[in-house]
Symmetry: C2
């Protein structure tokens, strides 16, 4: 009965937008690319109204993009949902050309950073075996890098790390927009907290990732 608004065209672009084109849908998926998240976490992180979040979560579940495993209280991406990574990445690259708002709304967390970070690291050849705890402003990420795969997750602070570093969201934005070169980023905007013997491998990987980004 509830005739949802959709394009109903054969064109795959329109079909994609029917699935993920609603307001907030792509931002919810974006945050889930940082790992499973609970309702509250998404709510606070996005600043979305609770009724909308509820509706979107239901729709995205019905479309098969996300799920909430039995017994779990967290939503996560399905295999299908993980397929939105390239869309989000291209949006991120494109969005960088627009001026930053002078008075942006503060997000409740920086989950948004996990996806682009994973994508750029994924393109690095001969990645080191390394688990890195990455503090960005007040948030923590865990990067598990191997030669074959790389995973970036929000939190996971309990996993033992080979290296602990700190940087800022600001620096990340500058790098993404090309105004901060890779060398300047690693030399001036990343502070090593612990495990400095692994720093060279990490800095090398980050530098390669940024250089590779075009």
């Amino acid at each position: 009965m509830t005739a949802k608004r959709h394009y109903n065209l054969l064109c795959p672009i329109a079909r994609a937008l029917d699935a993920v084109g609603d307001r907030w849908a792509l931002l919810i998926l974006r945050d889930l690319h940082a790992g499973p998240a609970r309702y509250q976490e998404l709510h606070e992180g996005l600043g979305i109204a609770t009724n909308l979040l509820s509706t979107r979560l239901t729709e995205l579940t019905e479309t098969g993009l996300i799920c909430k495993p039995d017994g779990s209280s967290a939503y996560e991406l399905t295999e299908l949902g993980r397929g939105t990574d390239r869309i989000l990445w291209e949006l991120a690259r494109f969005g960088g050309v627009f001026d930053r708002s002078p008075d942006p709304r503060e997000p409740g967390n920086l989950r948004t950073l996990a996806l682009p970070l994973r994508i750029v690291l994924d393109a690095v050849p001969n990645r080191p075996d390394l688990t890195v705890r990455l503090h960005i402003d007040d948030d923590v990420f865990t990067i598990v890098s191997t030669r074959a795969t790389v995973d970036v997750r929000y939190g996971d602070s309990s996993v033992p790390a080979d290296l602990v570093v700190r940087t800022s969201y600001e620096a990340f934005l500058d790098v993404g927009e090309g105004s901060l070169p890779a060398a300047d980023f690693v030399s001036g905007h990343v502070e090593v907290i612990e495990g400095s013997q692994n720093a060279a491998a990490f800095f090398g990987m980050m530098g390669a990732a940024i250089a590779h980004q075009h």
Copy 2:
């Protein structure tokens, strides 16, 4: 006074969606990737309400994604607007996984095909020098291929072509979704109308493009 709805976040994904995330915006851009188009052409092609089309065209112009050159009655992409191609391409690839609607709305034209066509042809190495007139159902495209660049435009029937071929939207969709192999496409779903001595070069290019698509 008219505070447009936007996310107002620093995240480049959100900034991109503030620019192109409104309903119809990406589909308008999609159609303009097939070359300049007049108001009427967009209106008929998309099946959008006229007030919405008007609003979107204004917004996209203000954002700098499209323009209407002085003296021209057609809208076209700016350099910035052309930068949406990768976003649209990733949406197209992703949208193919969803079932086609059993009773889709018929678009007024097939402009939607120009962008994916250009992108896949762009990835072909050693492209032949060739101008192809491509009939798809009742629409006509002109493909201008050189080793260095490739251009796909809706119409342009006046440009002399080396080869004239015909295929169907259906076949195109099947190819895009992977259910029709490149070999079957060129051998069974493309009819050569004129200039058959150039057919091999074109078929080779199409086959390479489809194979390259992953």
